[in-house]
Symmetry: C2
Subunit: 214 residues, 2 copies
């Protein structure tokens, strides 16, 4: 299998963490898509993924699977051990809910802030910016951190008793916050402690180190 | 089981169509959340769903599952027959990809347009609007229609050879387009023909009729 991505990116980190958790890295060859040169918005890449985002998984038969949740579903269904997306209906429902909530309230919000209210990937790539919307999303992300902090005061993981895709998405949010130097609100001690614990997982420590090599 | 929703809403339609496809409606009691009165943004409802969106599924044990994809995953995992989320890894990956793409490029884009560049739910509910962003999202949705039209020129369904969650999300986008009177580009004949075919499904015809009773 082949993955098109940009190694320091927070979204690519989601899939690379999932791959490491499932010990599937050796089955993948990676193809660099240089976001700083805007390659993800050019026709060649758009033919792989209409939405112009990385990562994209290409199967041996040429099937293309974009979107982190979809790629994680694919990888997890290959054997489901350990399970990242849940086994029972209730687990699946809760993991998908918290995964989506982590996107809406944290990761995607920081991404919009980055692309719209900071220089982002630079003027050649960020050809349209809406700073007001970007700042609004930054505030949403800070509020999202407070929400996840409340969850992690009560629970060891984001979506129930074990590590899941939802944890990975919050981790990606924290990686992105670090990249854009968005400070975690001081009240969020449980979130910070959980993130420190997550960094002890080899799947995560490699990603965090990578995102600092920029 | 209980579902908190607003019957004419396009997002609630996603779950109601899934329920009908799986013949599970009789197991659900519905609780009205009056979006026009902003009930979904008030403390009582926010304690059910932090993101302040409908629908929310409440299980017999009190477990709350928000987000349409998560609810559909839950319902589909109860028996998986017919399957809306796929059975093989490849099916799951493709359905989740196209479902997410239908959100990003169509349904969510129309929703942002509605809430930000039209009166939306009215001045008491729409306390912050960013019209420029809303109009940008409208244009994205129109482009999204052209994309899905291209898919449906080649395939009978949005994500492969059978009806799935991804079709439901595009249907919800078309319902929302109709609600906000967003005209489908004239070139999108395959999309329009597919939507007409979808309306022949009892699960869909009831929803389309409902969204017109406003």
């Amino acid at each position: 299998m082949k993955i098109y991505d940009f190694p320091i990116g927070p979204y690519p980190a989601r899939v690379r963490i999932a791959l490491a958790e499932k010990s599937l890295q050796s089955q993948i060859s990676f193809v660099l898509v240089d976001l700083r040169k805007g390659r993800h918005k050019q026709a060649e890449f758009l033919s792989l993924n209409y939405s112009g985002t990385v990562p994209v998984l290409e199967l041996e038969d040429g099937t293309l699977i974009a979107e982190c949740t979809a790629i994680t579903e694919y990888l997890d269904a290959l054997d489901g051990n350990p399970s990242l997306t849940g086994k029972t209906p209730r687990e699946k429902g809760l993991i998908h809910m918290m995964n989506k909530r982590a996107e809406i309230e944290l990761l995607d919000a920081i991404s919009v802030y980055f692309h719209h209210a900071t220089p982002g990937l630079g003027p050649d790539v960020e050809i349209y910016q809406n700073a007001e919307w970007g700042l609004r999303q930054r505030d949403k992300a800070l509020k999202g951190m407070v929400y996840f902090d409340e969850i992690l005061r009560r629970e060891p993981f984001v979506a129930g008793p074990s590590f899941s895709m939802a944890d990975i998405t919050v981790i990606a949010g924290m990686i992105f916050a670090d990249l854009v130097k968005l400070p975690v609100p001081p009240s969020c001690q449980a979130l910070v402690a959980w993130y420190e614990a997550m960094k002890q997982r080899p799947s995560v420590s490699n990603r965090v180190a990578m995102s600092r090599l920029r």
